[in-house]
């Protein structure tokens, strides 16, 4: 297991009213994302526990693009990753933002 964390400033507060939401499953090639509205509006945090070691650079690129595109201000994402492909990670993060 490897733990990776990212803190990003966000342009705007994420829309929606729910306090938290969860998408995906912890399985090989998949991941579970818990999203909680617990941060100041201009901040976003992503904490990852992953089974795949050595993909830090890819995670950094995926999370950077995600924050840029969806501006998820105020949200903290906790990811349990079972070695999902980057496109699956992007999709689950987008689903989490929609759900909350």
């Amino acid at each position: 297991m490897e733990d990776i964390s990212f803190r990003h400033p966000a342009r705007a507060r994420a829309s929606g009213t729910k306090r938290s939401a969860i998408v995906g499953v912890v399985a090989s090639g998949n991941l579970e994302v818990l999203v909680e509205r617990v941060l100041p509006d201009a901040e976003c945090a992503v904490d990852i526990k992953t089974a795949a070691i050595g993909f830090g650079e890819v995670w950094s690129a995926v999370i950077g693009d995600f924050v840029e595109r969806y501006s998820p201000g105020g949200l903290r994402f906790s990811i349990n990753d079972g070695g999902a492909r980057p496109d699956t990670v992007s999709l689950r993060l987008a689903q989490a933002v929609r759900l909350i």
Binding site: V58, D87, L91, A94
Partner: protein, 548 residues
């Protein structure tokens, strides 16, 4: 005096040597090895029928057991190296040289044996190319083939999995060769004559039916959202704008997703009857919902698929069937059909480089080519137009004079940017080049050459290579859909956004597709059981695909 009929005399001598072991043409299973020792000479070119699916397994085992003082150093010319026995022949010294096309299940072992010098390799071919050489310089002296049944005269019924048999027999029997067939049963009258008796010299009844591998069944339950998104991009970004009606699909999950989206997503786009009407394709179970919904008019097949026999029989408007009602497949004709009468090939691969060259070969696995290079190549000899072919030709050469401008077949590579175990699809250099260096091959085993590829489709978007004007644009168009792979992350962002403005790269949002809509509920069937239901109970999946 010069004799001009030496080969015929030699063939007659071989048959006479074997006749002592036969009653009429019938040879008992326990005598087959002795028959092969009588008929085959050291150094002979032998086709041991190993197709994509159907295997002459009894004859393989019999050949493996021959006395090496009588039969050795054979030159095997066969399309599929599939059974362990096919390679055991080389380990034992029964065979020495190999010309072949496909080695899927034996890909790791054949690589080790090639590196170890156990096999003297002629070349790795495409199916059509190897068949062509059967008639020019690789004509078999002996063909060992597989059929469903035979009558006492030797007429053969090869059934739904006819595959390569007519081609192998044609080349062997009409050039003074000997044809030996294993059959599942001897009958009074065969259901239909696939191979006439005068081309067959010996028949052996096998103790159990020949082995057939279900290669084309993809369980819809295993299709991911990423594959669904990629399939949506392909339908809206390639099938629709070109109006592709005549095509071949690869066997991967991405194309299975396309097949299952036609009656749902495709229907909503109003594409029924406009795309995907005529196929050169094996009987893919995943296409059942599209057939039942009236999308498909006609399918010609290379081979059959386990469990599809009753469905095919009941849908003879769609498939090619014999007077007995069962499927007649023919690999050589279907490959020719896909090459010359198809407007598109779409399939996946293991590696794509920066010029769009693709390969399924890695340094430890040599899977061969099969038919993909023929499906996935622009036929330079084609002369008939179609909407799709002309439009693709015009995109590649907008300033050319229309009556003198060649069209282009669409050759589409589809896949997710990361494959199994997060291995990237895109690479700077193909493993095939390293392999060619290690084996000292003159030619790297490239599946599809980059200059034939017209589109690359991934979950990140569609790259239209026909619209690229320089090698640099081509490279950036490929990097621009390569996602988070190293190749994708090293893109020139400025150039990629200019390519996007020109429509060379199209993102999901450029095509009006929201990635969040890529949901499994879009699949017309979400399980094998759903496929059985769509078929009205006619599709009978093999047990390994049943979970009910």
């Amino acid at each position: 005096m010069t004799s001009w009929q030496n080969n015929r005399a030699a063939r007659d001598a071989r048959i006479a040597a074997g006749a002592g072991l036969a009653r009429g043409k019938l040879v008992k299973a326990q005598d087959v090895t002795r028959l092969l020792e009588a008929v085959i000479r050291p150094g002979d070119r032998v086709c041991l029928e190993g197709d994509n699916q159907k295997q002459a397994d009894l004859l393989s085992r019999a050949l493996l057991a021959v006395d090496l003082s009588r039969v050795k150093d054979l030159h095997m010319v066969q399309s599929g190296v599939v059974l362990p026995e096919h390679l055991d022949l080389f380990d034992r010294g029964v065979a020495k040289r190999l010309d072949y096309a496909y080695s899927g299940p034996q890909s790791a072992r054949i690589a080790r044996m090639l590196f170890g010098g156990k096999i003297e390799l002629g070349a790795i071919h495409t199916y059509l190319e190897l068949f062509a050489r059967y008639f020019i310089d690789l004509t078999p002296q002996v063909a060992l083939i597989a059929a469903v049944s035979a009558d006492r005269e030797g007429n053969l019924y090869t059934g739904p999995n006819t595959e390569d048999t007519p081609t192998v027999v044609e080349a062997t029997a009409f050039k003074d060769g000997v044809v030996i067939a294993q059959v599942n049963e001897i009958v009074e009258t065969v259901p239909r004559v696939d191979i006439p008796a005068d081309r067959v010299h010996f028949i052996v009844k096998a103790d159990k039916p020949f082995f057939v591998e279900p290669l084309f069944t993809r369980d819809p339950a295993a299709i991911t959202e990423g594959q669904i998104l990629t399939a949506m991009l392909a339908i809206k970004g390639v099938y629709a704008p070109y109006g592709v009606q005549r095509l071949n699909h690869g066997i991967g999950f991405s194309t299975a997703a396309i097949e299952l989206l036609l009656p749902t997503f495709g229907e909503r786009l109003g594409l029924k009857g406009r795309i995907a009407t005529h196929f050169a394709l094996n009987p893919h179970p995943a296409l059942i919902p599209a057939i039942e919904s009236g999308w498909v008019r006609q399918i010609h097949s290379f081979g059959s698929e386990v469990g599809m026999d009753d469905y095919i029989r009941a849908r003879s408007d769609i498939y090619f069937t014999g007077p007995d009602g069962s499927l007649r497949s023919n690999r050589a004709f279907c490959q020719t059909a896909g090459l010359y009468a198809g407007d598109m090939f779409i399939g996946s691969t293991l590696q794509i480089d920066l010029q769009g060259n693709s390969s399924t070969i890695t340094t430890s696995r040599i899977a061969g080519f099969g038919g993909a290079p023929n499906m996935g190549a622009d036929a330079r000899g084609r002369r008939h137009p179609s909407e799709s072919w002309l439009k693709a030709g015009a995109e590649a050469d907008p300033d050319g004079s229309p009556p003198m401008r060649r069209g282009r077949k669409l050759v589409v590579q589809i896949g997710e940017t990361f494959g199994d175990k997060n291995v990237p699809l895109f690479v700077e250099r193909l493993d095939a080049i390293e392999l060619a260096e290690k084996l000292k091959l003159d030619l790297a085993p490239v599946m599809i050459y980059g200059d034939d590829v017209t589109h690359v489709v991934t979950e990140e978007g569609v790259a239209n290579l026909l619209l690229c004007r320089t090698a640099q644009e081509r490279e950036q168009a490929i990097r621009g859909v390569a996602g988070y792979t190293d190749v994708g992350r090293r893109r020139d962002h400025g150039m990629v956004s200019r390519l996007r403005e020109r429509g060379v790269i199209r993102r999901p949002e450029d095509l009006g597709i929201n990635p969040l809509d890529a949901d499994r509920s879009l699949l017309a069937a979400r399980s094998i059981k759903d496929l059985v239901r769509w078929s009205g109970g006619l599709y009978a999946p093999p047990s390994k695909f049943r979970n009910w």
